[in-house]
Subunit: 345 residues, 2 copies
């Protein structure tokens, strides 16, 4: 069945197109289902003033991680973080997770304990309860599927489709670091494969390697926004690269945007490592994935409340319907933004 040449194979289609195609048949029937597929998380009505948000992510060995350079404890930690980041992207606070894993029977108990020690470390740091899951065997690689549940006040929920013209575009932290960390790890893997006696050399790259292996979810930003009484007009987490996420917000909100190359926050280690690898640093920031920073828009009148926050950078603004998503380069030229993102298929 899978070899019929008249059929469409998934690798020609891409993940987003596949999801769009499948979900057009989905109908929602329950009054308490506020928002289904199409944002970082689904939204359910919990009580008269509280919304519940739910998200799920699956990590597959050989696709999302390489056990040659990913310690199992880090993997467990990261698997939780990618879900908590989606909860944050709804301007919500994570509360519970469920964890399902499929592992080969060749794994040892000690290996699974390592994986769970990372999962529980993330639960502990982010004050999230591990409430359920499933453990089964796999005929081949390791698969981890996590569902996270969070909560937010009904006035604070933040979607992708609600940005307005002239809103300011903000990003948290710095971008491209996780991607450059991955490049360093991949380089050291190749060196090791060619000569197993050579020790891996990640000196000077600790920051970017950690960004790749042990990312964090920006729960601190959610708390800061709440404290400053800023409700973003739209938000998304940066898992597939800034370009892809900007396009999601523009498409969902039916607007254009202008961002400024000079404003994109890039750490000096990321910048220098990119140059060493002959990669343009801004390309890492735009198209590298897995930073798990937040991209959000705010009303101009909220600028005063966030302008002195070290961890928030204004990089541009939303433009009217009919405009495209553009980057204004340092040379003052206008470049249309194109999604590269992560293509897993």
């Amino acid at each position: 069945m899978f070899d019929n040449p008249t059929h469409t194979t998934l690798d020609k289609m891409g993940e987003f197109a596949l999801i769009d195609h499948i979900t057009k048949h989905v109908k929602l029937t329950h009054a308490n289902t506020v928002k289904g597929i199409g944002d970082d998380a689904a939204v359910l009505l919990k009580s008269v003033d509280t919304l519940q948000v739910i998200t799920t992510d699956m990590l597959v060995e050989g696709v999302h991680f390489d056990l040659m350079y990913t310690p199992l404890k880090h993997l467990g930690y990261k698997a939780v973080i990618v879900n908590l980041s989606d909860i944050c992207a709804m301007n919500a606070v994570p509360r519970q997770i469920t964890v399902s894993i499929a592992v080969s029977s060749k794994y040892t108990l000690e290996a699974i304990e390592e994986l769970y020690s990372g999962i529980l470390a993330a639960c502990n740091i982010y004050k999230v309860d591990l409430v359920g899951g499933d453990t089964t065997s796999s005929k081949s690689g390791l698969v981890i599927s996590i569902t996270a549940i969070g909560e937010t006040n009904i006035n604070n929920i933040t979607y992708r489709h609600t940005a307005n013209e002239n809103d300011l575009i903000c990003v948290t932290g710095d971008l491209g670091a996780a991607y450059m960390g991955l490049q360093v790890l991949e380089r050291e893997k190749q060196v090791f494969l060619e000569n197993p006696d050579v020790q891996p050399d990640i000196e000077g790259h600790d920051y970017i390697v950690e960004r790749q292996l042990k990312p964090e979810a920006r729960i601190d930003i959610i708390a800061q926004l709440l404290k400053e009484q800023v409700v973003p007009t739209s938000m998304i987490d940066i898992s597939d690269g800034l370009a892809s996420e900007l396009l999601h917000i523009c498409k969902a909100s039916n607007l254009g945007c202008n961002i400024y190359e000079s404003k994109i926050p890039i750490d000096s280690v990321t910048f220098q490592t990119a140059l060493d690898f002959n990669i343009i640093p801004q390309v890492c920031a735009m198209n590298g994935g897995e930073d798990y920073e937040l991209l959000f828009t705010i009303k101009q009148e909220d600028f005063e409340k966030i302008k002195d926050k070290d961890s928030i950078t204004v990089i541009g603004h939303m433009t009217a319907q009919g405009n495209s998503a553009n980057m204004i380069t340092n040379a003052n030229t206008v470049l249309p933004i194109e999604a590269q993102g992560w293509k897993h298929f």
Copy 2:
């Protein structure tokens, strides 16, 4: 790391022991987490009188299903049902699901559509909203991970650990059918592998093959119990065989039980097919898996309310702490019940 002979491999340990081992380190911190790991579903406080229940299950190709005889539409349907059954086992009504799948890029769009048509058929029949998910690629087989969310009144929630001495033990429907359906499918697969020109012969076995390929969740029983104002004192769904589930209730409730071989409901097709395969029919019912019927206990005073229900059979009663779980055979001998269940490792 995985070959160290001093380490414990998972196949020597079993799924339940692994889960017990890992989850002993889990601490719950949120006031609204009512019940974590250890039942069919986790329980969260939704509002002052409503509880939310959450469960998750992962199905792995080659472990839980064989695509040689499992149509993708049936697989999608069943993947939803196994989760809805866990929601029912808490005496709750399913409301929403999320679906994550990992598939090889060699799959066609049409194949994924088939899978989702089964998922959406189950959503439609059971009035459940598909609210989110993740779609990613796999380096090898198909993996489906579903999380289901349900709701129940705070007075109706039903756990495993709350059975009382002398409570009546009830099962729904009939048992062993899914297991015998699997035997028929496996036999026809072998015939086909030996001679691809021979057409599969499942004539007369439609009922048990359907029980294997397209099980249903007993949402009708939950509605019936509500209507009759019977709140079971304990409940679990029968996914691993009656023996295994009875032992879960006995262990969790710290009680023994006596059930009667003569009372175990077995369909005539299951019975005859078991004999044809030289299997004792009651062994299928006790140790065959995937029936997705409900096993529950009720107070003796509730017997009048359920005794005329075709789909509920009383098979025995709970006995005091210190007693074992026993089956009273047709020859009036006492057999201790031992778990066989499904061992996926």
